[in-house]
């Protein structure tokens, strides 16, 4: 290195120059924008997850309704089929009477016409054999009616009766008659004799209908009755995060923006999070009620140009006094964060589309939100934060009401626990600010929640 370079290096070594204040202001703004961008990406992700889940819920719900409607049709068909049985039974009673009459004749001719009797019992034997087959079909078709034991007993008794008939054991025959077994056996015999062929084939047709149902995963179809017995009362801890939008048509409707001159394009989407506890109870086979208590925090970043060198009280004052920003002294824009905090008491009704190990539930309801405070803070830390709570002099409403809509996809862990993902939508029926403050925007939240449920019984 020559003398020239050495001289220049010495001159510039350790030198310092002060940049203008605008450099940090711009860096601060860019950092806030970068954070907003990151948050925006997260928000878009939350919104997509929520939208996908709602679509999924609707799809599964539609399938569930379709299945339910179709099952109703099957039940109706089955009932129609069952309604035809009394007619058959009436015919059977007639047959039974005829048979009794025939048996009286048999009794009168006892000892003399044994060959005829054997012929009759042989005929009965063949018919009973067919009756057994018919009963077997019936037992398959009517499995859900709880008549399985009765039908099986009938089958056994009929078989015994056939054996007795074949051996022409009159004592056993009479014994069966005394026990009204004979009547039962002949009811089935008569049914077989009088049923028209298409009705006999009704059983296999129903099986075909079951096969024609849309392909629903097996996990959704088996052991329905057993599962619904449990999960009557439960409690859960819940936490959710997502996007928050004040949903204002103009900046003057939102606190953090009201203090802005309006010339700076602030982000209109913020973030929201909540956590709390819920309790639930099943009020019907597929309906549940849930309620509890939650803490809500809804915040949004913005910029302000109101001169407020040490504390943000001046900014808050401009809001409380409803003064337009133009009436106040201004400075170069700086980042500001406004956070609203609430205690919320939600009340939701839920419909269970799927109630198995994997569950799907659609919830809707309302929540009463008690305003705790609004906090204005400067992310750069240059100005002191300023908080305002609810009250007569406060620009904020003490109580707000919101509508809730969410889908809940859950998975049961063991016998006592269930975890859920709950994408949802939260819409406030009124603005955060009182009507005197020229507010018209109804804030809404898209979020995704997680719940951990403990099942009491």
């Amino acid at each position: 290195m020559g003398k020239f370079e050495k001289n220049w290096k010495e001159v510039f070594e350790g030198t310092e120059l002060s940049p203008s204040d605008a450099v940090w202001v711009n860096i601060n703004r860019d950092l806030a924008a970068a954070e907003g961008e990151t948050m925006k990406k997260r928000i878009v992700l939350y919104q997509r997850i929520a939208a996908a889940s709602v679509l999924f819920a609707l799809l599964i719900g539609s399938l569930g309704i379709y299945q339910w409607t179709d099952t109703s049709n099957q039940v109706a068909q089955k009932r129609t089929l069952e309604n035809s049985v009394p007619t058959v039974n009436e015919n059977n009673q007639t047959n039974s009477a005829l048979l009794d009459k025939h048996k009286l004749t048999l009794a009168n001719k006892r000892g003399s016409e044994s060959s005829n009797e054997i012929a009759l019992t042989k005929s009965n034997s063949s018919l009973n054999s067919n009756a057994s087959k018919k009963n077997l079909k019936n037992s398959v078709v009517t499995k859900g009616d709880g008549n399985l034991n009765e039908k099986s007993t009938n089958q056994l008794l009929i078989q015994s009766f056939v054996m007795a008939s074949e051996t022409a054991d009159r004592k056993k025959l009479n014994s069966y008659q005394d026990q009204k077994v004979l009547k039962l056996a002949f009811v089935d015999l008569g049914e077989l004799e009088l049923l028209p062929i298409p009705e006999i084939q009704a059983g296999p047709k129903m099986i075909e209908i079951f096969r024609a149902l849309p392909a629903i995963p097996g996990a959704f179809m088996v052991h329905e009755e057993k599962k619904t017995v449990h999960e009557q009362v439960w409690a859960s801890v819940t936490a959710a995060a997502g996007s928050y939008s004040p949903n204002t048509t103009s900046y003057s409707n939102y606190s953090a923006s009201q203090i802005n001159s309006g010339s700076n394009s602030s982000p209109v989407v913020g973030s929201s999070y909540s956590y709390g506890m819920l309790a639930g109870v099943r009020v019907a086979k597929r309906f549940v009620l849930q309620s509890g208590i939650q803490y809500l925090n809804q915040s949004i970043n913005s910029t302000s140009n109101i001169s407020s060198p040490t504390s943000l009280d001046q900014v808050a004052f401009s809001l409380a006094s409803n003064s337009p920003a133009s009436n106040l002294s201004t400075t170069s824009p700086y980042a500001i964060n406004s956070a609203n905090e609430f205690v919320s008491v939600p009340l939701q009704a839920g419909y269970l589309f799927i109630d198995r190990k994997l569950g799907l539930q659609l919830n809707t309801g309302v929540s009463t939100e008690f305003f705790l405070r609004n906090t204005l803070s400067d992310p750069s830390g240059q100005r002191q934060s300023y908080s305002q709570s609810a009250g007569q002099d406060s620009p904020y409403r003490s109580v707000n009401f919101s509508g809730l809509l969410s889908s809940e996809v859950s998975y049961k862990l063991g016998n006592r626990y269930r975890v859920s993902v709950v994408p949802g939508f939260h819409y406030s029926f009124n603005p955060v600010l009182k009507s005197a403050y020229n507010s018209s925007g109804n804030p809404f939240v898209w979020d995704v929640g997680f719940r951990f449920r403990y099942i009491f019984k």
Binding site: K3, F12, E35
Partner: protein
């Protein structure tokens, strides 16, 4: 007062107070660096702003393998080079003849105020200014400069010679004008 590690950790977490403190500690030194590479002070401030944004976003990856000062200066120089690169493409550097500078410089730089010297450097053509800074002040060799700027080593040398020649001429002009002989 936060230590360097706490400051880095705070910045990496996105804490604005820590970021502000880091900026306050280093902005003047880095502004001097930027002003040598820029053609004007507003441009130097643009480079400083862009450089700090890169520093804040890259601090998570800082591994303490070098001093924080050195790491930040290097980021700032790279930002300045990127800033100049477009201009370097627009005005491609070509070889210039050796100005035949005398080694026995008779002009003492101590006669000049820092702001005057910075202004003289800023008046150099873009290519000459960048090569002069990299070679004379930062201490890079012509081979390294050639690799950094995507030019030939010969171009780097000739640009540097031209920068020397122009600087000498400028210093003499200022000296005469303000009677610093």
């Amino acid at each position: 007062m936060l230590g360097e590690k706490e400051l880095i950790s705070g910045c990496a977490k996105g804490e604005r107070t820590a970021q502000r403190m880091l900026y306050e500690r280093h902005c003047r030194r880095l502004m001097a660096v930027c002003s040598r590479y820029a053609k004007s002070m507003p441009e130097a401030e643009d480079i400083l702003q862009e450089g700090f944004m890169k520093i804040f976003s890259s601090l998570k990856t800082f591994r303490y393998e070098s001093k924080l000062d050195t790491w930040m200066t290097r980021i700032m120089i790279n930002t300045a080079l990127n800033h100049q690169r477009q201009k370097l493409y627009l005005l491609p550097m070509v070889d210039v003849e050796d100005a035949g500078l005398r080694e026995d410089e008779k002009i003492s730089l101590s006669d000049f105020h820092l702001s005057e010297l910075i202004a003289i450097v800023q008046q150099l053509p873009d290519g000459c200014r960048v090569v002069f800074n990299l070679f004379a002040i930062e201490g890079f060799g012509h081979k390294e400069i050639a690799d950094m700027l995507g030019i030939s080593e010969g171009t780097s040398k000739s640009q540097y010679n031209r920068a020397k020649s122009l600087l000498r001429a400028k210093l003499e002009t200022v000296k005469v004008k303000y009677g610093k002989v």
